[in-house]
């Protein structure tokens, strides 16, 4: 079961949180403005590894925070 660490409140079960989203990044190699728009709207990095995400501690301090999670292991690390 996923446990999430809120910077204000500490580690809590997943159901206390709302999952925000991750930060979409359109690669610089896509230069055409239309293609960048399509990429931004639909394409996903879908990284198997650490990703930067937003989470909301709904049942606690009710604050949004940024966290880095490894999608293969659910291990958390500090954002840059």
């Amino acid at each position: 079961m996923l446990r999430v660490t809120c910077p204000t409140c500490g580690t809590r079960p997943y159901e206390e949180f709302r999952y925000g989203s991750l930060f979409p990044v359109t690669p610089d190699s896509i230069t055409d403005p239309d293609a960048r728009q399509v990429d931004h709207a639909w394409m996903q990095d879908n990284v198997a590894g650490p990703i930067t995400e937003r989470w909301f501690h709904e049942a606690g301090c009710r604050r949004w925070f940024t966290a880095v999670r490894d999608t293969r292991t659910d291990a958390w690390s500090q954002p840059d």
Binding site: M1, E15, D39, W42, M43, N46, I51, D74
Partner: protein, 405 residues
């Protein structure tokens, strides 16, 4: 031995043979989709110089991790036409392959617990009826006639306002579908290499010319990726960017229940679905985990949440005991429709975006992709589902039909 004892497929030549240096077609991923494509290449087009490679055993991924529901009641005409074809192919699959896949008709009720959702389900029924899938909206009384176990008050909080009724829905045993296709393909000379992970694609100029496996390179005229959750990695080797995010979808099964439970019960408002398997046990599932994940882990939170939803409308399930749970990592496309066929890279085709709705599509997708590989032309049935639809502003958005949104 009873009829439910499963025996693994015999792959006699695998022990003392190695893959050939080149095949006409190499299919990455020995799940239902990969095996069905190989089967139809061999049976419909006489193309048998084909290898199916799987990193594990065949059917180890999402083919063996779903809730085996086969239905056609989707939300856009192109999807209804495609899944309807698949539904009909499933009905004929035992006759076609000579293998028993435990196919059984299980009518589906897609319930509404509010007036506005009842309108959604009425629209779904009308739309499907117009597209040639027999469907109608039924009221609470008829729901109770079909599934007497329903609590029409929904525990007082989710009263059943009616349901869209899809009488042609069905279930089949997932492993047996994979094995039926594998056996049919093997008999016609297709090679299936289990425990043969692909680690890269071979490229020559702008073309994909084969795959690199842990044991060495294999050249191919056409490479088809039929992998599940890890498709982004495979497509990345070809330089193809995908609108896919990998999410975990959990499901679980209870102990057996002696009474007949006549169909598949889904709820649009609660977001869950229940059906009875051939052994009498109940299969339950709900939405996929919101956050992206490559982990095949189950969670107590999920089991608790689905059980609560199920008991709300089917109180007798409170007495059932949960036996097993499992998780698949699903290639969920951003418009909730599959992505089939050409990728813009010569020699490299895709069957992905199956998210949480791939099992029901196995026969049609396999048949249509085999047709694409054999003829070089994209068949009309899957033309709307090309990867190029996003750039053409022709996305096939249909999230509400997944049942797992």
């Amino acid at each position: 031995m009873n009829e439910f004892v499963e025996t693994l497929l015999d792959l006699p030549w695998q022990a003392d043979h190695a893959p050939k240096a080149a095949y006409d077609v190499v299919i990455i991923g020995g799940g239902g989709h990969g095996l069905a494509t190989a089967y139809y290449l061999a049976t419909r087009h006489g193309i048998t110089n084909v290898a199916v490679l799987d990193a594990s055993y065949i059917g180890a991924g999402n083919t063996g991790r779903n809730t085996t529901i086969i239905r056609a009641n989707y939300g856009i005409p192109e999807s209804v036409a495609f899944y309807r074809h698949s539904l009909h192919m499933y009905a004929d699959l035992e006759a076609e392959t000579g293998c028993w896949i435990m196919h059984a008709n299980r009518p589906q009720l897609w319930m509404a617990h509010s007036v506005s959702t009842a309108r959604t389900e009425q629209a779904r029924a009308l739309m499907n009826e117009a597209c040639g899938v027999p469907s109608r909206f039924i009221g609470p009384d008829e729901c109770a006639e079909i599934v007497p176990q329903l609590d029409l008050t929904g525990g007082g909080r989710y009263p059943i306002h009616g349901a869209s009724f899809h009488p042609e829905a069905a279930t089949a045993r997932h492993d047996r579908v994979a094995w039926a296709y594998a056996q049919g393909a093997l008999r016609r000379g297709v090679h299936i290499w289990q425990h043969t992970p692909v680690v890269d694609l071979l490229r020559s100029g702008d073309r994909v010319t084969g795959v690199q496996t842990a044991a060495g390179p294999i050249r191919a005229g056409t490479v088809l990726s039929a992998v599940g959750g890890n498709v982004t990695t495979v497509a990345g080797w070809a330089g193809v960017r995908l609108p896919i995010r990998t999410h975990a979808l959990q499901a679980f099964v209870t102990n057996a229940y002696a009474q007949e439970f006549p169909g598949v019960v889904s709820s649009n408002d609660l977001v869950f679905y229940v059906s009875q398997g051939p052994r009498g046990q109940f299969l339950m599932g709900a939405e996929f985990d919101r956050y992206a994940s490559y982990q095949q882990a189950t969670s107590y939170t999920y089991v608790q949440s689905v059980a609560r939803k199920a008991i709300t409308v089917l109180p007798f399930l409170a007495k059932a005991r949960i036996l097993r749970g499992w998780t698949g990592i699903c290639d969920v496309s951003t418009d909730f429709s599959p992505i089939l066929g050409d990728t813009g890279v010569d020699g490299f085709l895709l069957s992905t975006g199956w998210g949480t709705w791939g099992f029901k599509a196995i026969p049609a997708a396999g048949e249509q992709l085999a047709l694409r590989i054999a003829t070089g032309a994209t068949p009309a049935l899957i033309a709307p589902f090309g990867l190029d639809r996003f750039a053409k502003e022709a996305a096939m958005a249909d999230p509400s039909s997944a049942g797992t949104r």
